[in-house]
Symmetry: C2
Subunit: 329 residues, 2 copies
């Protein structure tokens, strides 16, 4: 029996998962972020993050230096430079033809749809959609970043929430729970104190994106401003799905439409308008909650790469052992 390695590289952590080729997860390990390669010292950090997460997984799996039958990486901010850096770490562990380096949208798709033809839309700090049909066509839409796009992302939801709060505070818009929610969140007295916090150099875009949770909470409590922001985000995420679907060929297939990322935690206020708009545009689609998280999506692809048939037994082995991965999160 051989082994595969699946890597899920996000904004803040790198997660490595080692499984046997029968689907049994043996170990998982965490490292720091591998992206933001333009920052000083980031190249060394990228390699260290990869090494840390791999070594953690090897330790937990009780494995020494082995060769993997296949390796799949799904990386936020994937680039040729990142691929080169990570290959330098992994070259001892896998042959080059079995080293599969992908954007995180690919592993999100494999997780979200269970590897079936369809579209995944990521609503995280940023936003992007990937469609993959049954004829091996792929189309990626969005992913333009915080200045040029990221419509429907947690970052955009957070900015819209901040704007709704200031407009309400000024008397430019009706009351919203967001003013109190922001004041509570930062544990200050007034919205101008929130202003000081938001512009302090300790807050970066990922920190700002976390404020989207307040908008989700407000929407679930029935706040009108929050509901409007979530339904506008749902519309943007649906547009990403529809545009991606239009670029591939789902003829004769039932596309699975699924999701990844933190914005979906808001539940019904984003899910319901999203589902409605997608089904109006693609009536034969199945809009589903993610079958697996992206980390298991990467594992599914790694098993496929190792020519493992994903039969009931393999899927049952993944189910039995997936807690090993989930407790790392």
């Amino acid at each position: 029996m051989g082994y595969v390695l699946a890597v899920d590289g996000g904004q803040s952590t790198t997660l490595s998962v080692i499984a046997k080729t029968d689907g049994t997860v043996l170990g998982a390990g965490l490292g720091g972020p591998a992206n933001h390669l333009h920052q000083e010292g980031a190249k060394e950090r990228c390699k260290k993050s990869m090494r840390d997460s791999l070594n953690g997984a090897l330790r937990e799996a009780n494995l020494g230096k082995i060769k993997f039958e296949h390796v799949v990486l799904g990386m936020t901010g994937a680039s040729e430079l990142m691929k080169t850096l990570i290959w330098e770490v992994l070259r001892e562990y896998v042959d080059e033809e079995n080293f599969q380096f992908e954007h995180d949208s690919v592993t999100a798709w494999a997780g979200g749809t269970g590897g079936k033809p369809g579209v995944v839309v990521i609503g995280g700090t940023g936003s992007v959609a990937l469609a993959v049909d049954g004829f091996d066509n792929r189309a990626r839409v969005g992913g333009w970043g915080y200045y040029m796009g990221d419509e429907g992302s947690a970052y955009q939801i957070a900015l819209q929430g901040l704007s709704a709060a200031t407009k309400s505070y000024d008397g430019r818009a009706p009351k919203t729970v967001l003013i109190e929610a922001l004041i509570d969140y930062f544990n200050v007295k007034d919205l101008w104190d929130v202003h000081k916090q938001v512009y302090s150099s300790e807050m970066d875009r990922a920190d700002l994106a976390k404020l989207s949770k307040l908008v989700g909470n407000g929407a679930n409590a029935g706040d009108k401003a929050c509901l409007e922001i979530m339904s506008s985000a749902a519309h943007e995420l649906a547009l990403l799905v529809i545009a991606a679907a239009n670029k591939v060929d789902f003829k004769g297939q039932t596309p699975i439409i699924s999701t990844a990322g933190g914005v979906w935690k808001a539940g019904a206020p984003i899910w319901e308008p999203f589902k409605k708009e997608v089904l109006e545009a693609i009536p034969n689609a199945k809009v589903v909650k993610p079958v697996y998280p992206p980390s298991i999506g990467a594992l599914v692809l790694a098993l496929k790469g190792a020519r493992v048939e994903l039969n009931d037994e393999v899927l049952a082995n993944i189910e039995k052992t997936r807690a090993i991965i989930e407790r790392k999160k």
Copy 2:
């Protein structure tokens, strides 16, 4: 005859203007920016900018070390720290009771309305409105910055333009001239090359805000996406005016509503919907193009501070000599 000093401190320059108390402008001088005081070395830079612009104006006016009867500063990013730094430079030139340090919205208001009761709305890199009634009540609305507000600003227009271009490129939105306009502006081949430029470290928020001009051009050429962005900006700027007006007391007065900042250069596509919405909310208002730019607004306030009556002769002297200021811009 005495002298006054008027200072207009913006995002990129500090402009000092020296005039006689009969309104005749004698000289003007430019220095660097005085704001962004959180940056390294910015305190010294702030003082140097003030000193450079003052010395330039003194040289052009052929004046040595004099005492001004009154000094008015209208500064972007005005703060207590900035006030202290600038006072250190100007204390030799003016008595403390004649040193009037204001936010740039105040000099924009004095310029826009000619110092009459009313509201000015600044649509520059950021956005803010100031209402001043005939009873000395002042209300400032907006000015929350690029994360929490700045609705209707050049920066927001630019971001919306970038988003419209990427959505069109992806097939998420109809065609827009913005794709070609951006490709031309950056002199590249494709919108993904624009992406590289936008995220290069050489572009800051003020540079991004300049892209709003492309949206204005597109709107004037009849592009639907651009027209929508400009009319949405007009709505946001009208909301700022209306909220500010509601916070003061214009009873028995005809409020003058005027403007400052670069976004108004787009002309009819922003001006017409703005005027319509303001007049619907404040039917007795007069919506006018700015009487003076903020630099002359500062001069008007400086003359008022020196107890000069702004009669026809003084206003005529300003008119005759204002080219001295304008050729510095």
